[in-house]
Amino acid sequence: MKKLIVSVLLLASLQGFPQENYESPENTRVEMADQLRSSGKIYVVVAVLGTIMAGIILYTVMLDRRVAKLEREPENR
């Protein structure tokens, strides 16, 4: 759901969000993904966020399994 929103907004931004505020004269030479293209190491951020999502989802699955085990226990004693 989050990813859907992000990708929609990413596509929207391709219409042109010029990044105006530069701090120093050399900045125009620094590679930034001005329109969020793949240059400028944006994929590192994607990898990081992906890892975090994977980790949290795995932990959630682990919790889910614990609940499932409890639900299967014969409770009537």
């Binding site: 530069y22 930034m32 993904a33 990081v48 975090i52 919790l63 409770e75």
Partner: protein, 222 residues
């Protein structure tokens, strides 16, 4: 614990973090380039881990003052999510380092400190597993938890003194210090920290609820 407002807040903050994190304007720096956006994802893992471990240690202290199983469950579950965030922090740190510092593990103090924290708290889980009697387990592991956390804190001050760090904001790298003060990053960073920490707390509370139910079942079985 069952109230909903902070969970909704957590989701909203994280949504804001992800969207803002990718779209908002960030300082332009060599080497880091766009990956500076990792500040919103990697750094909160570290801060979240320390917060969760602190909460775990506090509950351990509470347990020793007044032995109640409730405190023990809190302590262990918060330690577990603390370990989760620690692992995620170290792994994401390695990914980030591979592309910016050229090697995945460069002997950086923060990396080492996180690794040591993981060793200590994994040992905590091992200790809990090897003690059978519940009361003894709670008491002994509470003692170890306090000892572990108290050892971890000085480590935060010692390790940076050991090596020059590639980590922004410490050692020989002044670049990030300027960025720390950069308001553009702060706008997303502070909410990010709160959001990720709330997520960690949320996962802990789920674990606590599971453990409580399990304890109730065990008690009923007896």
């Amino acid at each position: 614990m069952k109230s909903v407002w902070w969970k909704i807040l957590c989701v909203l903050l994280l949504l804001y973090t992800v969207v803002g994190g990718f779209l908002m304007d960030v300082p332009r720096l060599h080497i880091l380039n766009e990956s500076i956006r990792n500040t919103f994802f990697h750094v909160p893992m570290w801060l979240g881990m320390m917060t969760l471990l602190l909460i775990s240690a506090i509950y351990s202290v509470l347990y020793l003052k007044k032995p109640s199983l409730r405190y023990d469950v809190f302590a262990s579950e918060f330690a577990k999510t603390g370990i989760l965030f620690g692992v995620l922090g170290v792994v994401t740190g390695m990914i980030w380092a591979k592309f910016t510092w050229t090697s995945a593990w460069s002997g950086d103090p923060k990396q080492n400190n996180a690794a040591i924290a993981l060793l200590i708290y994994l040992a905590y889980l091992l200790l809990r597993n090897s003690l059978k009697d519940p009361q003894q387990r709670s008491r002994i592991s509470a003692v170890y938890n306090i000892l572990a956390f108290s050892t971890l804190i000085p480590l935060l001050y010692i390790l940076p003194a050991q090596t020059d760090s590639l980590h922004p904001g410490s050692g020989g790298n002044a670049a990030f210090a300027d960025i720390d003060l950069d308001n553009r990053l702060r706008v997303v960073f502070y909410p990010a920290v709160i959001g990720w920490t709330l997520l960690g707390i949320w996962l802990s509370t789920i674990g606590i609820r599971i453990q409580n139910i399990k304890n109730r079942f065990d008690y009923i079985k007896k």
